[in-house]
């Protein structure tokens, strides 16, 4: 589904990604871990097409198409979704207007008919229930006055509503208490299927207690320096990042 080859990217004249390789297949969950400043969020933003990030080199193929050449809106329409680390507030635009607009634009791109208001309402109620969100949130302005946890939950609501092929979750667990973490994880697990894939970007292992990854990758200085199964996350939790850093530096 996703194939990243030798990806190099910079932000504000600073090289962040320095030759990253990653393959993600349908049905898989990949966790990308690493110390602060290793390039985790850059990877997420580059894949979603944030214009603040510049790609210097490399290839990214998504479902057989060149992702790098696509506008950010077309990436979303092709099925890429980024759950933001810091979701923005949009006063005056309700959650339902926002999501209905997004769904219909994606459908238009795929030459499908608009979703009927009735279908939309029942869908959003169903998805909000998974996340234990109050129905009143639907008619509230996007993220306006939401707590940190509510914003993250709202990101997962958007994920469930837009139902993309590839979900990239950028530090969705940060700032969540254990109850909120469980609810958010429940939402992500409800999204998971054999047809789609998930990339979890996280600093901590605890999210992976609730969303079990198939692969864990350690990102350091813009490159993946170690990959393994879910047990790698536990090892990192126990031993910290220093030992993998040393491994990487030995290789250099």
């Amino acid at each position: 589904m996703l194939s990243i080859k030798n990806l190099k990217a910079k932000v504000e004249e600073k090289d962040i990604l320095k030759g990253l390789n990653l393959i993600v297949n349908p049905g898989e969950v990949h966790a990308i871990m690493g110390p602060n400043g290793s390039g985790k969020s850059t990877l997420a933003n580059v894949l979603a097409g944030n214009p603040n990030y510049e790609i210097i080199d490399g290839e990214v193929e998504f479902c057989g198409k060149n992702l790098i050449e696509m506008s950010p809106e077309d990436r979303a329409r092709e099925g890429v979704f980024l759950a933001f680390q810091y979701p923005i507030e949009i006063p005056g635009i309700t959650n339902s207007t926002f999501l209905k607009t997004a769904i219909d634009e994606i459908r238009k791109y795929r030459q499908q008919e608009e979703m009927s208001p009735k279908e939309f309402i029942s869908l959003i109620k169903e998805k909000a229930a998974i996340l234990e969100m109050d129905n009143s949130l639907i008619s509230r302005s996007v993220n306006e006055g939401f707590s940190g946890g509510e914003k993250k939950r709202n990101e997962i609501l958007q994920l469930l509503m837009l139902n993309p092929k590839l979900a990239i979750l950028d530090e969705t667990d940060s700032g969540l208490d254990i109850d909120a973490l469980k609810i958010v994880s429940k939402g992500v697990n409800a999204f998971k299927s054999k047809e789609n894939a998930t990339i979890l970007i996280t600093h901590y292992q605890r999210l992976l207690d609730y969303i079990i990854p198939d692969f864990v990758h350690v990102l350091y200085k813009g490159r993946i320096i170690k990959s393994g199964g879910k047990e790698l996350a536990l090892e990192l939790e126990a031993k910290g990042y220093d030992w993998v850093k040393e491994l990487a530096e030995d290789e250099e």
Binding site: P72, F98, E105
Partner: protein, 441 residues
């Protein structure tokens, strides 16, 4: 009389001609004010950009336009009633008063279901029927008048009058529609409005200036509002596309009153609003909202002055705008807290988004505080639509033009969502996007 300023002399000559030609019924109380203003006007200079309060607003077009003061004949120009009401409320029951080039048009107005004690209509007519109300309030809100206010005193023979007596609540909004322009000439239309709301009374008024043709016309207004103890007043002041408007709103509020003022300039050609409010009692709550969206070479200037003359009052002023092309806006907001006005809460903010490199805002917040136990804040920001926010919306598959509209709506939400009449809120929302050539959200 000296021969000091040529333009003033020109207007005084016009005044002499105009007096002869105007409707003979319009003499009396108001003509007296005009006669008394002549000398003051002759000595009062029109401002230039060298005057601090007019630094960013050039009135040379006004001075060059050779305007003809509107007379009763201009009232007779033909009208299509549908176009008069095209921007008024349709699904909300309202009282509608139409003024045509300054003169009350009773035929087009609809006044019904009104409490019998409420007096409203034409300043000219009611000044003759109820001289005692006029003697107390009319032209009494301020002593020293600016040149434009004196010009208004010279030529305004009519205007909107409203008196809401003690404990009366007027449920329906009152719409005051000012039609400006005739088919042949550049007109100066002068209106002098007076609103008196007595103790514990309540009312909502929407002022609308509507252009009747494409000539260069100026609407010079002078509006006086007196809010009695515990009164509740909402004023909406809206300008239609292409209008030229210069004027002053004077507000005097008494204790415990609640006052809401909205000023909308949505693609107006040239606007200078002076808004002066005096808080003349304790525990007053007043909100002043402004919204301006301008394009091409349009110009809007909002000058506000809020005088906290008594302690324990709360005011909140929020002016927001979006400018594109070569348009220009000016905001000057002064808050005065007098020496004994302790426990004053006064907030002010002016925020503008520029959608083009050539659009410009000059903003000047000023606080003058003579009391020591007060809470006052002011701030001004100028910027572009936030890039990160734009990316957030676009990353959901939403096209850029809709994402921009969403951010415009989000930016203006604080003002638009404060509009208390739902249909008016929708209309203003529509006009915001229309005036900026943006897709409506």
């Amino acid at each position: 009389m000296t021969n000091k300023y040529q333009i003033n002399q020109d207007y005084l000559v016009k005044f002499a001609d105009w007096k002869n030609s105007k409707n003979e019924n319009s003499v009396g109380f108001i003509s007296e004010i005009a006669e008394n203003s002549k000398n003051l006007f002759a000595e009062s200079k029109f401002p230039t950009t060298k005057d601090e309060e007019w630094r960013f607003t050039n009135i040379s077009n006004f001075l060059k336009s050779d305007l003809k003061p509107a007379t009763f004949e201009d009232f007779a120009s033909k009208l299509i009633p549908e176009s008069v009401f095209q921007n008024s409320l349709k699904n909300t029951k309202s009282i509608k008063l139409v003024f045509q080039n300054g003169f009350f048009n009773e035929h087009l107005s609809s006044i019904s279901n009104l409490n019998g004690k409420v007096v409203l209509g034409s300043v000219d007519k009611i000044s003759k029927e109820k001289p005692e109300l006029f003697a107390k309030y009319f032209n009494k809100s301020k002593n020293t008048k600016s040149t434009f206010e004196l010009l208004n005193n010279l030529f305004a023979v009519d205007g909107f009058f409203l008196f809401v007596p003690k404990n009366v609540v007027v449920e329906m909004p009152i719409e005051v529609i000012n039609l400006i322009g005739n088919e042949t000439q550049n007109l100066l239309v002068s209106t002098h409005n007076l609103i008196i709301v007595e103790e514990n009374a309540e009312v909502k008024v929407i002022f609308q200036s509507v252009l009747d043709n494409s000539h260069t016309n100026y609407h010079n207004y002078f509006t006086e509002i007196f809010g009695g103890k515990s009164s509740r007043i909402e004023i909406y002041d809206t300008e239609e596309s292409l209008i030229n408007k210069i004027g002053t709103t004077e507000i005097v509020l008494e204790e415990n009153s609640l006052f809401n003022h909205f000023s909308f300039s949505l693609s107006a050609n040239f606007v200078r609003n002076n808004l002066n409010a005096k808080l003349n009692g304790e525990h007053i709550e007043a909100h002043f909202y402004g919204l301006y969206t301008e394009k091409q070479n349009e110009h809007v200037d909002n000058h506000t002055f809020i005088n906290h003359a008594k302690p324990n009052c709360f005011t909140n002023e929020v002016y927001k705008g979006i400018l594109t092309d070569n348009s220009k806006a000016v905001f000057s907001g002064k808050i005065l807290v007098e020496k004994d006005s302790q426990k004053t809460n006064a907030y002010q903010s002016n925020k503008t988004i520029l959608l083009s490199d050539n659009a410009r805002i000059d903003t000047k917040p000023q606080l003058e505080i003579y009391a020591d136990d007060v809470r006052c804040t002011h701030g001004a920001t100028v910027g572009q639509l936030d890039k990160d926010s734009l990316f957030y919306i676009i990353s959901r598959g939403i096209p850029k033009e809709i994402a921009q509209s969403m951010l415009i709506r989000a930016f203006l939400a604080e003002v638009i969502d404060a509009i208390k009449i739902p249909e008016l809120r929708e209309q203003i929302n529509h006009k915001v996007f229309f005036s900026l050539n943006q897709r409506e959200i």
